[in-house]
Symmetry: C2
Amino acid sequence: MTISDLGEFGLIEAIAAALPRSDRTVVGIGDDAAVLSAPDSRVVATTDLLVEGRHFRRDWSSAADIGAKAAAQNLADVAAMGAVPVALLVGFAAPGDLAAGATVAGGDVSGADSVVLAVTALGDLAGRDPVTRAGARPGDVLAYAGVLGESAAGLALLEAGLTRPAPLIAAHRRPAPPYHAGPEAAGLGATAMIDVSDGLLADTGHLARASGVRVDIDSGRFPGNPALAAAATALGRPGVLDWVLTGGEDHALAATFPAGRELPGHWTVIGQVREGQGVLVNGNPATGRAGWKHFGG
Amino acid sequence: MTISDLGEFGLIEAIAAALPRSDRTVVGIGDDAAVLSAPDSRVVATTDLLVEGRHFRRDWSSAADIGAKAAAQNLADVAAMGAVPVALLVGFAAPGDLAAGATVAGGDVSGADSVVLAVTALGDLAGRDPVTRAGARPGDVLAYAGVLGESAAGLALLEAGLTRPAPLIAAHRRPAPPYHAGPEAAGLGATAMIDVSDGLLADTGHLARASGVRVDIDSGRFPGNPALAAAATALGRPGVLDWVLTGGEDHALAATFPAGRELPGHWTVIGQVREGQGVLVNGNPATGRAGWKHFGG
């Protein structure tokens, strides 16, 4: 059974039948547009585009992996505002000969030469103020929740033709962002927050710039990660810090909190917010690949 | 200046600077997600994906045309629910050597071998019930607002290497859906409504199926369209009815209303809702190309 056999409307019906229907859905799949409840009288909205060959390879990831990854990166953006996810809208383009199988989709379906997924996530702040990138103040601490560098290490392993350590391959194929930590951070009084999609240095740089502050990161505060260390050894790399500082796509959350705020154990304090600008690591201006450049470079 | 020169963040900044900011925007471009007000406590949401070579050709449409068309097809979906548009989220992927110019975008930007646009529109029902496809009842009339067949005729002209009649070329490049007619129809008591994106027969068929009714269309009720007639003559086609009945992408709105309802002049009654199923034209089951098949066939 290929997508051509199913046809556009058959594909949409197959998808709609497989998806849960939320009590937040007033009008669901199958009309011109969805209607969703927004009891907070505000809606958080974000969109991402994933292009085959650029963001994923079908020989390295299953359809379900790709769908889950596309969802994860949008849901992490919702969490990074301090909101909980309400709905996903998915646009999907694929060659007609693509075999139909398990996937996450809905919204719009069309033909294309390669697979393209467009995911929009909507979220609910439940009465809380959004946590933007712009609220960090000198004296705050920088902390993160989730993992750093695992997706990048998994990609490096795949590129080298390796499939172990398996958890790193899984981290690349299907990231598991700490969604709950986003609304939690908002409740704990986070002053600024960002989804780490381009790498910790690059995204902390965005937060520092939006807030008009400097952030000093202490690399000694990152917990050890035996799987990362094993991957570095397997690939003959000198260490793991480059992955931790510049690897994107794990969708950890980085947030700033007022000094002295008691944080749950899954938040790790790794830095200080100061007067100034930019990001320093151990007192030195950040060097190396400062996040993923999508165009050229 | 190409997109590679600008870079992802430069492109986003250039786009953000060019776009108006609405008073409905709580948090706009530049954070992990947008936050939009939803005073109605519901949000209408729809998404579409446009792929170069499939939905547009860069040699036939300018960047501004493509952006406007992508926006139009989503805004028409919002209107077809009876809502007014609040916000657009745009995902954009393009080759790095694409020259940067006027375009509609925002949301997510990434590299790709061809140009892909993903547009999500959000809308506000302002307290009205959504008008779905499922509410048509025997005895209702079918009416439409906007134009039918002009985009299809414009495409046929371009495919034949012709550039006149100019209004049809413009209709293909930059459709002008009757957005205001959507909320208007809701206020006039429309029982069902749909955006004509796949062609009148196909989309009326969706409405008939969702409502569990038959729709009889009287082709004699379509007003004459001299530009369409001129295009048919230029292309040696026997008439214009095929374009009117099966041409998509004009994004006219088709709606059903209780019999006897007084409608403004920009709504044209073209049919009757009956017991049964399917769509008849002049009493005969609809034949010919019943709308655009996106996959294969």
